[in-house]
Symmetry: C2
Subunit: 297 residues, 2 copies
């Protein structure tokens, strides 16, 4: 008997589900993409880091733009991983209706960064400095406050008496601890908000367990999704046959050659229908009556 | 040529120097031990953890007592490593003059523990739970606030949203980080005051370097002194012939057999005259004209 073992936490996290549902509701109210008189709906940057899901939204009339200047009127949905304070202020100054789909956990990280900077802490943000989420968190730090985004920055910490630390919600605990350790060596007071979201921790844990128990492992998610790429990396530590793909049609029969038990996981921005399509694709490659599909939790 | 290499930071730290000088001044003002009409001077527990230094103070009229009940009148000097809030309040309720010789760094740790507990943090105190300093720090935590003194305590941390951490001033950085790590794994907000005093860090560092460069190593200090015992342990990691003694007269000639370069360090509560006596004792054992005494910094 062949088996497909799926990590229970694969796919949409709470924040992504919420953003998609807000976007669908907004598009629904506007009457869909077919009505030529409706107000345009924009998202500033992709709503989530999954091209297929963004394409589905585009069909419903949610257009991705890169700059506030591209939104002269209509509605704008603030993407799940947040926008900078500057962009938020620029939007507020326009004749547009703002619909905030920022993940509440990202909002928490923004708020803690702001709080720390207001209470006189230098602020370290653990994450990829180029990621929109990290940029949005940093933008909430008050002007004039020292900001650290790399371990090397702590060498410049002479004279700083108190530092606050927050993390991108999809960071690993190990990265966060490396920052805490570096800060503790140089700064007398260190205040940390562990803003890594539980869904990330759980997904990494379940995916590791699935990778260990299976012959090959499929990781589904946008190539532009940092959390999916990290998931594939983590799985590779436990399974020699890990494939990161965006959609089911990328799965070739060769990938499953000699495999009797295949593992499946997916990043936080991967829609359930992409996971469902993958399961169907595996079934069609295996062409067996007796395939057991189970979930690991 | 024989050599004696002494760690520059060996002996009295700032807090101990200050306590001894306060005690001497108090004894001096009282007219010394010879005057039968003077008011008694007490210290609640030994002023510092060095029997020889405490004996010297006893000769000057500073009597060690174990309980507030043993101090009916006169003056009381609060020891360098602090007393509990309860003892401080009991003293305040008596007809005695209180002279506070608590190390300012210990006072800081007490204040931070109190501040954290008042701001709603559970408080972890990193240190030996039976040490008077740790007892004094804990006593400043507001009633009803959860207190952690061991890593195992964090298993009981379910539901705690914010934890503060302070350390006994003579703790190692590694111990402090182990607590930070344990807290970070379970509690969303962790606020740490690194209250380990710089003198401790420096003394451990210099003593390690001296132990590495010498044939044998003498560590001077009270057998009841936690920081001296820790110093001997650290030196043993780098030198196979480490001797922890309290006074010069304990040094036997056999200890120096075959040694051409001897290292010397001393705990934070070891008086300079004990170090001087050790150097004289080494000279008298070696009986050489040409002995070089140098300091490592």
């Amino acid at each position: 008997m062949k088996r497909i073992l799926i990590a229970r936490s694969a796919g949409f996290c709470f924040g992504v589900k919420r953003a998609i549902s807000i976007a669908n509701e907004t598009a629904g109210k506007a009457g869909g993409g077919a009505d030529p008189n409706r107000l345009p709906i924009h998202s500033l940057g992709p709503l989530i880091h999954n091209p297929q899901a963004v394409e589905e939204l585009e069909k419903k009339g949610v257009h991705v733009v890169e700059s506030v200047d591209d939104i002269p009127c209509g509605k704008v949905i603030v993407r799940s991983h947040g926008i900078t304070r500057r962009d938020a202020e620029a939007l507020a100054g326009r004749e547009v209706q703002i619909i905030d789909a920022t993940c509440p956990f990202v909002k928490k990280a923004q708020e803690y960064a702001r709080l720390l900077s207001r209470e006189g802490y230098a602020v370290a943000v653990v994450g990829d400095a180029n990621h929109p989420e990290v940029k949005s968190i940093i933008s909430y730090i008050e002007k004039g406050v020292p900001v650290f985004t790399s371990l090397a920055d702590f060498r410049e910490a002479a004279g700083i008496r108190k530092a606050g630390i927050v993390a991108q919600t999809t960071q690993s605990f190990e990265n966060l601890m490396a920052f805490v350790s570096a800060a503790m060596k140089r700064i007398p007071e260190v205040r940390v908000y562990n803003t890594i979201c539980n869904a990330t921790v759980l997904r990494q844990k379940e995916s590791t367990a699935v990778a260990r128990q299976t012959d090959a492992m499929i990781v589904l998610g946008g190539y532009n999704s940092a959390n999916t790429r990290r998931l594939a990396e983590i799985c590779r530590e436990h399974n020699g046959r890990v494939h990161h793909i965006e959609t089911a049609r990328e799965l070739s029969p060769e990938t499953l050659a000699g495999v009797s038990c295949v593992g499946v996981t997916a990043g936080a921005s991967t829609p359930a229908w992409i996971i469902d399509e993958l399961v169907e694709r595996i079934r069609s490659i295996w062409r067996e009556e007796n395939i057991q599909v189970s979930y690991y939790q």
